[in-house]
Subunit: 407 residues, 2 copies
């Protein structure tokens, strides 16, 4: 079994790195805080005696390779260590540190694996600073070119490539240089299902599609006191109509479709001025591609009507679009079997969140293991998973990696 104290200690230590003035965990991709987190992770890779490789995308790999298995495609375990704003400490970091823990455990055992073992921390999984999310693994999987990715402009106007160079994580390796035999990712569920059902292990068999758009509504700024209601072209009101449309539609449907408006900005944003502009993002998700397309079409039709009768101009920019993914069934079955062997119940489930595994599934057989999230809360400092559940998940990962590395 893994060294539970070492794993839990590292999760907490990494979770303490990158706190802002108010004590909030904010380790956005390629920021100064991210540099500190990366430095700590690389230090642990070095202490574990792994070979360290960093690609041009800033993705960090730690590889344990023995003379006997050199040249074989590795078993790769990965996730990310960037965070959202005011984040919890488990999202991403748990999977990366558990990957390292599993390799250290196996390295210290008698086993000589038939394949190299590797752990990856992918750049900008969260997609908060730069779109799209899962960008590092997307580039690794060849889904977008490295030059296009490095040119991404952040919400703060920064350029990803420049920021990676600035923090010292623009590496030399070409993205995709490491071709995994299998890709595994251990992650907190970030949703309420496992906790509600009292099941400690999720065998993730699919991952829903994600559609991200940025919508800009242009109206006419005017005086809040003198402009009759009938003569307004209020961009803020039009934006509010989109928010309620999306929310009410998704809530009323009997599908698992989710719709979120997470960001909103008014211009000029003054108390006595009718907003001339509203800019906001839409996050739509559904496990089925045809339904995701139907939701996108419904939004487009609503925006068209709104522009027609609201006296506003609307433009839409696509920030990310990923189809649903179905994971490798044989690995899903391995997860179920490993859980059973350790005496844990498991449940096949859908991932509501996007993950690097979604991209890596393009390159190699892939699947994910979930552990419960207390109250289903994530992307929130209250994100929590019990120590015993974290350790259980890491031990299942250990068993599967050991089994795959022994074949």
């Amino acid at each position: 079994s893994i060294d539970a104290q070492r794993l839990l200690g590292r999760i907490r230590e990494l979770g303490g790195i990158g706190r802002d003035g108010e004590g909030r965990l904010v380790r956005l991709a390629a920021s100064d805080a991210d540099r500190l987190g990366r430095d700590r992770f690389v230090g642990w890779l070095r202490e574990a005696g792994l070979e360290i490789a960093i690609d041009r995308m800033g993705n960090i790999f730690g590889v344990w390779q023995a003379p006997a298995n050199a040249g074989h495609a590795p078993i790769l375990v990965g996730s990310h260590i960037d965070t959202v704003i005011d984040a919890g400490i488990y999202d991403g970091c748990y999977g990366v540190l558990a990957g390292l823990e599993v390799i250290e455990t196996l390295k210290a055992s008698a086993l000589v694996p038939s394949r190299p073992l590797a752990v990856a921390a992918f750049t900008n999984e969260e997609g908060v600073r730069y779109s799209p999310d899962m960008m590092g693994s997307l580039v690794h999987a060849g889904g977008v070119g490295i030059d296009e990715a490095l040119a991404a402009v952040g919400t703060d106007g920064s350029v990803l490539g420049e920021e990676l160079a600035r923090i010292g994580y623009a590496g030399d390796e070409e993205p995709g240089f490491l071709k995994p035999h299998v890709y595994l990712e251990l992650h907190i569920e970030q949703g309420p299902v496992l906790e509600r059902e009292g099941v400690p292990i999720g065998a993730v068999e699919n991952l829903q599609g994600i559609s991200w758009q940025r919508i800009t509504i242009d109206g006419v700024a005017n005086h809040a006191g003198t402009t009759p209601m009938s003569m307004r072209n209020d961009a803020g009101h039009a934006a509010a109509r989109v928010v309620t449309f999306l929310h009410d539609r998704a809530k009323a449907s009997n599908t698992p479709t989710v719709a979120t408006v997470g960001t909103m900005r008014f211009e000029p944003n003054a108390i006595n001025v009718i907003p001339s502009r509203a800019v906001f993002t839409v996050d739509l998700r559904d496990p089925f591609e045809h339904r995701l397309q139907a939701e996108e079409a419904a939004l487009a039709a609503f925006l068209e009507n709104l522009a027609a009768d609201g006296g506003v101009a609307i433009s839409v920019e696509r920030l990310a679009r990923f189809e649903p993914v179905i994971f490798d069934i044989s690995i899903v079955e391995l997860i179920e079997a490993a859980a059973k062997k350790r005496g844990y119940a498991s449940k096949r489930m859908t991932s509501g969140a996007g993950h690097d595994a979604q991209m890596m599934a393009r390159l190699a057989p892939a699947a994910m293991i979930f552990v419960p999230s207390a109250g289903g809360i994530s992307h929130n400092p209250r994100e929590h998973t019990a120590d015993a559940e974290l350790v259980a998940g890491a031990n299942i990962l250990l068993d599967i990696v050991a089994q795959l590395a022994d074949q």
Copy 2:
């Protein structure tokens, strides 16, 4: 008649001061840009040979006093030179510069007025950086204490008193030191009425009540992909419901009530995080106090229901509250008579915007003159009034001041 070229030239010159990096006119109260505008205005007062007085509130007064009329209460013409964000050049500045123009014109004539003539530029009329609006005239009229006003914290976290000291406009005079005999204010309408009716002069007989509130909605941050619609406490969606409620209610009513949500902020404001908090402002106005109260009550009831069924906590902060004002009927009649004498049609009307006259009416008989706003547009760089209309308004002001100063 006044010197039209001098007046128009000054309006344009002042409108060129305080442009931001994008060329937008942003001369927020007590900012560096405001200092530049004030310096220019004070320079003109000096050139005109007026006595300059600045009070602790930063209100600037230029006074023409002759030995013959010393000690008498002055005829005061005033308005403001602070602006909103991305403003037009007429709002406030027109009235201040026309006041100066009228005094210069009378000073150059044979008239020896029976009372001193004074022009005032009041601090922070717009209320964009510090609440409430009309703050300088409110303090002058004794409606709020100077210490409370100077302690006002701005949208940028600044403190008004410190900012006034920093820009060199924390004067020595006690607020209210100058007690006017009559207060007059010339202003662009900022609304569509005069243009629509083809009338060049508005004789403003009343001014609607203003209610400003800041509303904070607290929900729960959670993951946009994993959190079912039924389990969300989405502060952004709750805020959007308030925006549509207010807008739709005011639009559907057959009263002149107006409702505006001009500012909006989400937290943490990330694309894949359900907003934990939304903070926004509400601007409600109506010419009748009982109706303004009814609108406030309807909003409060809506918020109560929203908190009950939306799973969010709502707190409300009052930023400004002014009852409707009825101006002095004898001055309104003077305006009508002066317009008629110069051959202009005039119209009695309600002011939709708040103005310093609203505060000064507590101290002295007061009224306002309006000139048309093209397209009814204000608080917008497209704010425009034709030169001939600006000159007509200033000449009406000249005639009334001359008449009052001759009594």
